[in-house]
């Protein structure tokens, strides 16, 4: 009441003025908000520019010292040799592709099999068990997978193939395959679930078995989504770091041998970062050149996945 009274006691003119002032400050605040929010939104754009610009500038400094022709065509990667250092990216790409190939061989059948089981066969109860397990698998930190590759998968492989080295391409490949399986499974399942049931029922009514319906009707209809999920998973496998850094070794080589030590692009960056290659040395800039190559690889894969899922989608 006291407050009410004191307000009343103000002259009317002053009261109006106060209200106007208050509205004005509210108004300017209201006007500022979109710009503050826009500034937040710009940060993500700046991040992209930041990535591209830092990678480009440092890579250019690298190409000042090492010719781009050598980088692309030399078959040797000996960055640490002082007398005859050789910077050919091909062995690192070979290592990355070897690991990725094995990951795909592991992940594609299991991932698509899981997706078909979840969307075509599984009861609600099964789905409620399997889907959270996939989420947990997708959320496990990659260093844990690396530990698993080195201390579990590699010893088993050495029992089966005695000639295999401790560090090899197969063990991290298998474990990366396990890591990307949930991604393929859940994205492919989304694609399969979005195929309308009426087509399935049509196929079943014509007398096809569930398997025939899944393979000849549902799978082709969802193919664009499934292929896109595989491409995205490949991009993840190419960029995966800790598993290969722990279990893949550090011997880049341009061979088709999967049983000996390799080095991927990501593992090389880790190796240099851990060592004491000083700021400003050629080795320091080489990680940006390698990082840029890696960035291009994954960018192309991501754009390809977007293109596939947009261009080839069957719309019902």
């Amino acid at each position: 009441m006291a407050l009410h009274k004191s307000k009343r006691s103000l002259p009317v003119k002053e009261q109006i003025q106060r209200n106007i002032n208050r509205r004005k400050t509210g108004f300017t605040f209201e006007k500022c908000i979109p710009f503050l929010l826009l500034a937040a939104a710009i940060v993500s754009v700046l991040t992209t520019f930041g990535i591209v610009i830092t990678l480009l500038t440092e890579t250019f400094i690298f190409f000042d010292r090492v010719s781009i022709v050598e980088f692309l065509t030399s078959k040797k990667w000996y960055p640490f040799s002082e007398t005859q250092g050789s910077y050919g990216i091909m062995p690192l790409i070979a290592g990355t592709l070897k690991v990725t190939l094995i990951a795909v061989i592991v992940a594609v059948p299991i991932g698509i099999g899981t997706a078909i089981f979840l969307s075509e066969y599984a009861s609600d109860r099964m789905r409620r068990i399997i889907k959270p397990v996939l989420e947990v698998l997708a959320g496990i930190p990659t260093i844990v997978y690396g530990f698993f590759a080195l201390t579990f998968v590699t010893p088993i492989l050495r029992e089966i193939i005695p000639s295999i080295e401790i560090f090899n391409a197969i063990s991290p490949g298998i474990v990366i395959g396990i890591m990307i399986t949930p991604m393929i499974a859940s994205l492919s399942e989304d694609a399969l679930v979005s195929v309308p049931n009426s087509i399935r029922e049509g196929a079943l009514a014509l007398g096809s078995t569930k398997f025939e319906t899944a393979i000849k009707v549902a799978l082709p209809a969802a193919l664009s989504g499934i292929v896109a999920s595989i491409v995205l998973a490949v991009s993840r496998a190419i960029g995966e770091t800790m598993i290969v850094a722990v279990a893949g070794g550090s011997m880049p080589g341009l061979t088709l041998d999967f049983t000996s030590s390799i080095q991927t692009m990501t593992a090389y960056i880790v190796q240099v970062s851990q060592g004491d290659a000083g700021y400003g040395t050629t080795v320091y800039y080489s990680i940006y050149a390698v990082g840029f190559t890696l960035f291009l690889f994954t960018l192309v894969m991501n754009l390809l996945a977007q293109y596939i899922s947009r261009r080839f989608r069957e719309v019902y």
């Binding site: 990678l55 099964m126 399997i130 530990f147 025939e212 994954t298």
Partner: protein, 292 residues
């Protein structure tokens, strides 16, 4: 004359049915593989690590002797890191989501931001490490500090928070907004007092999941040059530090089996932390998420 060859048909049908059964079991096995791998992984980690996991392990500084080593510096470093990543990434992420959902006009620039965010989500984490090394560690001269690492990881998880916040904001029904406008509220008042509170569970769930991505991440921190071995605790966000995944990486990359055992113990600590955070996220999602 026989029109229908019953024998032949039933034979073919039997074959097709068997094929169906066979592939059903194949698909089932592949679906179970994930469960099996998770089981083996957890069993291996727990059987190796549990004997080493005790109060002493949580209380000890890292050491060159495996029996004396502990995760104290790493655990506290991880908590410091969360203290930087959570506010920075939430503020930027939710701000971006509000802008895109409530303020942005449907034009080329908005579409560009949206495409940019989805591409950013596909950039490998190690590339964010290279960005952080050039910008935060070198250009801003923050060194291998908690702040530099926190900002790097915030940028990395930003797309996750933006996308989940956008979905949460989009799920708020129009009625709520219109009622608020009808009462004379301004746009910002409507957003702050009507839209955000009802989108909050979704935003928090996404935020916690993003945070758990950040604290499980190793690669960008290795690239930043964080020390693998650190025997003192950070005092401010400008101090250098180490985190659980780095400590686990350090122990895993040593050849001795004793260090692998304590790496497993470190993994148990990390997994317990992550499972706790994910449970909180699921709890919030199930408890507070309103369906309209």
């Amino acid at each position: 004359m026989k029109m229908i060859d019953h024998q032949n048909i039933s034979l073919r049908l039997k074959g097709r049915r068997m094929k169906n059964q066979f592939f059903k079991s194949i698909f089932f096995v592949s679906a179970i593989t994930g469960l099996a791998v998770l089981g083996i992984l957890l069993f291996r980690v727990f059987s190796q690590g549990l004997p080493h996991l005790d109060w002493q392990f949580l209380q000890s500084l890292p050491s060159r002797k495996p029996e004396l080593a502990g995760v104290k510096t790493a655990l506290i470093g991880t908590i410091w890191l969360m203290g930087v990543v959570a506010p920075v990434s939430l503020l930027l992420g939710v701000g971006t989501a509000i802008y895109l959902e409530e303020y942005a006009k449907q034009n080329r620039f908005t579409r560009f931001i949206q495409v940019n965010i989805s591409n950013l989500a596909g950039v490998p984490s190690i590339v964010f490490g290279l960005l952080g090394l050039a910008i935060f560690v070198r250009a801003f001269a923050l060194g291998t500090s908690i702040l530099a690492a926190g900002l790097t990881l915030s940028l990395m998880v930003l797309p996750i928070i933006i996308v989940s916040s956008q979905e949460a904001i989009r799920a708020v029904p129009r009625d709520l907004r219109e009622a608020s406008y009808g009462m004379g509220a301004t746009k910002w008042q409507t957003i702050a007092r009507a839209v955000l509170p009802s989108a909050l569970p979704g935003i928090l769930t996404g935020g916690i999941l993003a945070l758990s991505r950040a604290i499980g991440e190793t690669a960008p921190l290795v690239v930043l040059g964080l020390p693998l071995f650190l025997a003192f605790l950070p005092k401010t966000i400008f101090d250098t530090f180490t985190v659980l995944p780095m400590q686990i990486y350090n122990w895993t990359s040593r050849p001795q089996a004793e260090f692998h055992a304590i790496a497993a113990a470190g993994i148990i600590v990390l997994l317990i932390l992550l499972i706790t955070m994910n449970s909180i996220a699921v709890f919030i999602r199930d408890k507070f998420q309103r369906r309209y």
